[in-house]
Symmetry: D2
Subunit: 302 residues, 4 copies
């Protein structure tokens, strides 16, 4: 019986890069957090403390900042592709790379009815995300791109039921045919392609579909709502192979005002912190290609 090194990777996490386009008086801004991770021939660093094959995480950082100018930062997916392929193509010890990006949205301040050229206020809604995985070089190179969002907080004040569920001796929950349903959605969608995609239009389109489906589907369960959201995205975007959704059920409990002789017709709720339900589902084409490392996020344990 012997002890061996298993899967491993390393990189620089949460580089906070702001890229301003200022070639005209009307500036543009992209505000991101980018993390890079590399894997490959790094056993000597672990086993012997030998760094000869190790590209420092500081170098990964420098590259990420420089590429924001050299390659540009117009879409996080394209910038992430530039960065992820660079490490695999130019650093001999790197077998594969993963780049994860979060983008924070800004909207222009409106002055006297006109959008300002160079002043913004942060939009607090969804954080846009991207994860690019690259394995191998040359003809063997494989690339996976996942777009996504997180922290999209949605609430509907009616149009949601939950009843007819299984009961066991620990079941106290009462069925309801009218409740508040709220969530903070995380979603990721895996592209079938990465060479001919309108990243901006696709992101806007999918985010709109997710919100619309949450609104218009009469919900019998959060599970059902998630599936409808995923289905609608896949139907609209043939270049999406698969979408994965994770949705906390942020409970809003109807507050009992009857002790005070006050009627509460689904009007006053307590918004609870913890615990919360948590529903996760994937929706995909039945002929979807293999996901490979597309969903192996660079957090927690490898």
């Amino acid at each position: 019986m012997s002890i061996v090194l298993g899967p491993n990777r390393y990189g620089k996490a949460e580089n906070r890069i702001v890229r301003i386009y200022r070639d005209t008086p009307r500036h543009e801004i992209h505000d991101i957090s980018v993390s890079t991770a590399l894997h490959g021939d790094f056993a000597d660093a672990h086993l012997a403390g030998d760094q000869l094959q190790v590209l420092p995480t500081d170098t990964q950082k420098q590259t990420a900042y420089s590429f924001a100018k050299e390659k540009g930062l117009l879409s996080i997916e394209s910038y992430g592709l530039d960065l992820a392929t660079h490490f695999v193509d130019h650093i001999s010890s790197v077998a594969g790379s993963r780049v994860e990006i979060e983008e924070f949205a800004w909207e222009r301040v409106v002055v006297d009815g006109t959008e300002h050229d160079h002043t913004w206020v942060r939009r607090g809604q969804e954080v846009r995300t991207a994860a690019i995985s690259v394995e191998g070089t040359g003809d063997d190179q494989q690339i996976w791109v996942v777009g996504g969002l997180k922290d999209l907080i949605l609430l509907k004040s009616t149009g949601s039921e939950f009843s007819g569920f299984m009961q066991d001796p620990y079941t106290l929950l009462q069925p309801t045919n009218d409740r508040v349903m709220a969530t903070s959605l995380t979603a990721g969608w895996r592209f079938t392609d990465h060479t001919d995609v309108d990243w901006e239009a696709t992101y806007a389109g999918i985010a709109a579909i997710l919100k619309t489906q949450f609104a218009v589907v009469h919900s019998l369960a959060l599970q059902q709502t998630l599936y409808k959201m995923g289905q609608a995205v896949l139907e609209a975007y043939p270049n999406i192979a698969e979408i994965r959704l994770s949705a906390p059920n942020k409970h809003h409990f109807l507050y009992d005002l009857s002790p005070f002789g006050v009627e509460n017709n689904n009007e006053v709720y307590h918004a609870a912190d913890r615990p919360y339900g948590l529903i996760q589902a994937a929706v995909l084409h039945d002929d979807a290609t293999d996901a490979g490392p597309a969903w192996d996020s660079y957090t927690g344990l490898v």
Copy 2:
């Protein structure tokens, strides 16, 4: 030399109340965190553990939830006034009260170009705040109302300088005539009146002025920008006696790309976390009435 009880107060903090108005198919939502604090004749509780004069914090919570229906929750200032005066007027041991409220904004999901009746997405910009202080009863009653906001994150990518500053042996900073200026603004404005105010219009108006001034003032320092913001608010709203502003200078450092032969014309920045500058200022009418307890926030040490 003897030991005595000094200032003290108690209450229930961060009640998370969601109030839905659903009298028509087009619902309205108000989503708040409300904290209540009472002071008065509570020495026996501290000195002897005698609760006879103590209205439980649980009761304060129940009242806050019930008032969301009984009194309504259309503006946080008016709801806060109802709640704060209730405790002083109806609980004999209470000499004064303070109610602090944060409101989280939602905007309607747009489906096929139309705002949805009962589905919202959380707006992530400014959190609206209110703080109501009530002292005494009957003809002696005094009331202070402070409206405000926090977490209003603003950035301008040009139109900001910093130069001509004092130098001492520890001064390394270089002057600049073009920098990114960003902040996360906290502001509070003290009303001269509380009986005849359009709370909603005032809030929207002041928030717009703050953003506009940040945009249009060519900044020579964050101090100057804050003063201009405050001045513009006071000029537009005669019923505001005073405005206080607290603004971190969220540093964006120009990233040095010259080692890579890449030019950086104020295009690529590192957004730093800590440390940050922190600028605080009050702007007021020279005949403003006494602020009393208006600014004594219910956090930290009494």
Copy 3:
């Protein structure tokens, strides 16, 4: 081409249970956050909104609280095993379950040199974790137990080098033979067995080894330190098949005091927030059994 439901699961996250043992005057306390997730025959809930096979997340919560008394909560691994097997064994629609637990440590307040019977102060060091996965019933049942910790913040003020690394055109980092090395360690260790383990002794032993190795290994890289930590754990505990480690390199930058004529012999550092290095590695026995779902954490996307 048709659209299908992929992997899915659901449950109740972050139940905050505190269990007091008070059968003698000297109480004991266990303070946990427990999350439960189920997968199985839930397609109807997604596709048709039919809850007939769905055990509510509220029921999972009730069970978690009740089991803290019914089954006891002496070790999070044993409590988690009781809970995870319960759902698979007694709920017909459940094919597999996962229970994730965090335990927050308390230590007794010391009064006049003696540990107090029923008063504690929270220890802020490592959070202990456990993850139990159960698949199938009866003779086909498979069980995986992962113990672990997170937020173990370690720092050494010397005994750490980093040099001899790969260089490319973006490499500016200078080698160092004496630096501060700090991390916030996350670790998980997978047991080969779950029926005859002293969970408490194993946890204490592994935590001690991790700290000791961090201290005594002269570090040539964080990668090397992590491997040594993992190797030492596996050598000491034959019933651990595999250990996985994730370690941010929390950078401490030597502060340049030379402009002020002040010498800085590795004495004054700036502790940076972001970005940070992030190193992940697994160390395992070469004949380790298959990990199955042991590492599939119940966060993010399924």
Copy 4:
């Protein structure tokens, strides 16, 4: 009626300084976050954007780092005094200063029963705090020093009652003679002197008294416990003029297991997040000198 500048100040917040003493093989570590704020003759910066009197916040930062070596960082109170008096004594435009410090505690890793010389694990208990205010120069100079702590999380599993409280129509709470009482204590103590104090011994002594009193006082209310804590500190330390305490009542609700036929003799609790009670009180000598700006914390609105 004219608009004027009111109170204002500015500085650099949250400088994250780590100071290592390494003159012998047994190193010492001090890990702090320090914020500096200045007020004085800064009207021109606000009114005209003129920085001639403004010492940059970057300079304040450089000074804070350099003083960690020049003046030393053995006690946060003495380091804070050096820094706060420096700005007032040497920068002509500064009328007063405030320095706020948080110190994060580390304990040595124990290897084979021996404390390690240069490796630490972060202690997660209380954060030690200090706030130094300096006004004026020369013979007119006044100095206030407040020591303190925050995030001291305490829990007792019995020995706490709450009954006999006031009742109104919104009172639903039931009295209890045995409950879990838990808090996360914030405390500050104001010194009568700053020239001849053993800062380290005083801190350790007061922290021990606070914990001990929480343990040994049979609590009839959190108010009573806080007063006893404060009283005991003042009795033990004649050089403390006043202590202020802020204590959330972190509710632990007994979980109802009766629907499952399970008895719960104060053994299983739900630890709630929000809302929480919040109790604040000052305890002082009746001849305490004026607090001046001692308690004006540098957060929120000026």
